[in-house]
């Protein structure tokens, strides 16, 4: 009976889902990963590696709190150094998740549906990682809550003309909206897991998390409206977040950083590195969990195309940065650029250009765009470059 209702596929292009699946078999296959698949040795190995690295991070943060930010080589109190590099990098990674879930939804790109949930989960973790750095860079992290406007006995309020405050609001809003977006998308899925699971405890937990979702037509209608509106809100939000991050630099007067190209250049860079991260996660996941039928070549190809396009915008940003160094006629600006090309950090700048501009150009070749291993490697190179 089920076999009569094959999920329709677009015959013109590489399919979003491989043929031969029904509504039921898609549900079975995906929920089985969560419900019945036992934890293998490989899983424990991966968990062990991740756990070790997390412990290392906690050790490093503990050392930082004891010693102060001087351990990064930061010698001037207004410099962020290591912390801002990581902050900007992680926020950028998060952006691809929101882009996939919000912008591609508004553009009716149905291929997003196979990868949006884990991309959103990636966003959440990336925002959490990003949030660590502004907190620890203040030097006295236990006082980081001073950044929030709360009625204190000191009678002091934050200084809203500073981009640092804008950052506090942009990142905390971004974190909250990402969490809500991810959770609202998950409610019907949790209901499916509730109905599929055999274990009583699992049923109760999924039941609570799905909040008694029953798929009523009225509920779906409001749900879809809310989801669409949330996507519409998240789209300007995601563009604003990295714009605000770039204001941290652009609003200041440090030579070489005080430029108007920063907002679009940062956003493009964010999407660029974010898609690289999505691919680095998606390629092993589809292989290990046998999801090649759901995360198909088309997903990989489209992601590669997005990377290619945003990568070119980033290249333009680098170009304008160098051009402005010369064109502004400001000798401090010019020196900053010259120092980047010939100074002590020249090898790092060269590596950045190779990783972010030159190597990703191989994505023009169709064969490489459809080759998971090649894509995985190129994505790794981009993430290193960023």
């Amino acid at each position: 009976m089920d076999e009569q209702h094959k999920v329709t596929v677009d015959a013109q292009r590489a399919p979003v889902i491989e043929p031969g699946y029904t509504f039921g078999s898609v549900t079975e296959k995906i929920s089985a990963i969560v419900l019945t698949r036992p934890a293998s040795n490989g899983w424990f190995l991966g968990f062990g590696v991740a756990f070790t690295l997390t412990m290392m991070m906690l050790y490093a943060v503990g050392y930082l709190v004891l010693k102060g930010i001087g351990i990064w080589g930061v010698t001037i109190p207004i410099g962020w150094g290591f912390a801002i590099v990581n902050f900007v990098w992680w926020i950028g990674i998060g952006h691809a998740g929101t882009l996939i879930s919000a912008i591609l939804l508004l553009l009716r790109q149905s291929w997003r549906n196979a990868i949006n949930r884990f991309a959103e989960a990636m966003t959440l973790f990336a925002v959490a990682c990003a949030g660590i750095f502004p907190t620890i860079h203040v030097g006295r992290p236990w006082l980081a809550y001073w950044l929030f406007p709360y009625p204190s006995t000191m009678g002091v309020w934050p200084q809203f003309r500073s981009p640092l405050m804008w950052d506090v609001f942009a990142v905390s809003t971004y974190g909250t909206i990402s969490l809500l977006f991810w959770f609202i998308g998950l409610i019907p899925d949790l209901a499916t897991l509730r109905d599929r699971s055999e274990n009583r405890l699992a049923k109760i937990i999924y039941g609570m998390l799905s909040m008694g979702w029953r798929g009523s037509a009225r509920h779906w209608h409001r749900y879809e409206t809310a989801y669409l509106l949330l996507a519409g809100l998240a789209t300007p939000l995601v563009l604003s977040v990295h714009t605000v991050v770039s204001f941290d630099f652009a609003v200041g007067i440090v030579p070489g950083w005080h430029t108007t190209i920063f907002p679009p250049y940062f956003v493009a860079g964010a999407i660029y590195s974010g898609f690289a991260m999505v691919l680095m996660l998606a390629i092993p996941i589809r292989k290990i969990y046998g999801l090649e039928d759901f995360i198909t070549e088309r997903h990989l190809q489209n992601s590669a195309k997005v990377m290619l396009a945003t990568g070119l915008i980033v290249a333009y940003g680098y170009g304008i940065e160098a051009f402005m160094g010369w064109y502004s006629g400001d000798r401090y600006d010019a020196f900053t650029m010259w120092n980047r090309l010939h100074g002590p950090y020249a090898p790092a700048y060269g590596a950045l250009l190779i990783c972010n501009i030159f190597i990703p150009q191989v994505l023009w070749i169709r064969k490489l765009r459809t080759n998971p291993i090649a894509l995985f490697l190129v994505s790794g190179v981009i993430l290193v470059g960023m």
Partner: protein
């Protein structure tokens, strides 16, 4: 108040197309208190069962306006009234610098209103609901499409309603105990 021991009559269909057709005919036959349950959103289904007023956009609009006002007035009050600081000679009420946070607060409040407004209007969370009493209903989140006529409908009659639902060519018809 004593509850009606029967919540309604449930019919099960195999495809969304069959369900839309059945919902349309049920609504036209005069049953107004009905609902449908599907594993994924089916376009146009809510309209077929007489659902036309979706208040979510209004809730989001109000949330956004409240958020924007909160954001701007908070900054104005803190920077110009409660704790005026002279930063590089800029005016206390330096509105261009307040735009970013006003925008972020608009999005934050609107987004929170969208999610919690939707849940509240849907009456969720609701841990117990009679439809879950039907064993077959677990497939409503997998690959089956259900139609329920509530016993509170004026036209509801156990025998006649069952007969009517049978005539829609469903896979099964079952009574829903409440």
């Amino acid at each position: 108040m004593k509850r009606d021991p029967i919540y309604g009559m449930m019919a099960e269909f195999d495809t969304p197309v069959a369900l839309i057709e059945a919902a349309k005919r049920t609504y036209q036959a005069g049953y107004k208190r009905i609902d449908t349950y599907t594993p994924f959103p089916v376009e146009g289904l809510a309209e077929e069962i007489g659902f036309h007023r979706d208040e979510v956009p209004l809730v989001v609009l109000i949330g956004g306006i409240v958020g924007g006002l909160t954001g701007y007035l908070m900054q104005y009050w803190m920077s110009a009234v409660a704790y005026p600081l002279n930063i590089g000679g800029k005016p206390y009420h330096s509105w261009p610098a307040f735009i970013v946070i006003t925008f972020e607060m608009t999005i934050l409040f609107a987004g929170i209103s969208a999610v919690f407004g939707m849940l509240a209007l849907n009456g969720l969370p609701m841990p117990y609901h009679p439809v879950f009493n039907v064993p077959r209903f677990t497939r409503a989140s997998r690959d089956r499409f259900f139609l329920v006529v509530f016993s509170s409908d004026v036209k509801y009659d156990p025998a006649a309603t069952r007969q009517f639902l049978e005539s829609l060519d469903p896979r099964s018809v079952s009574e829903v105990p409440s």
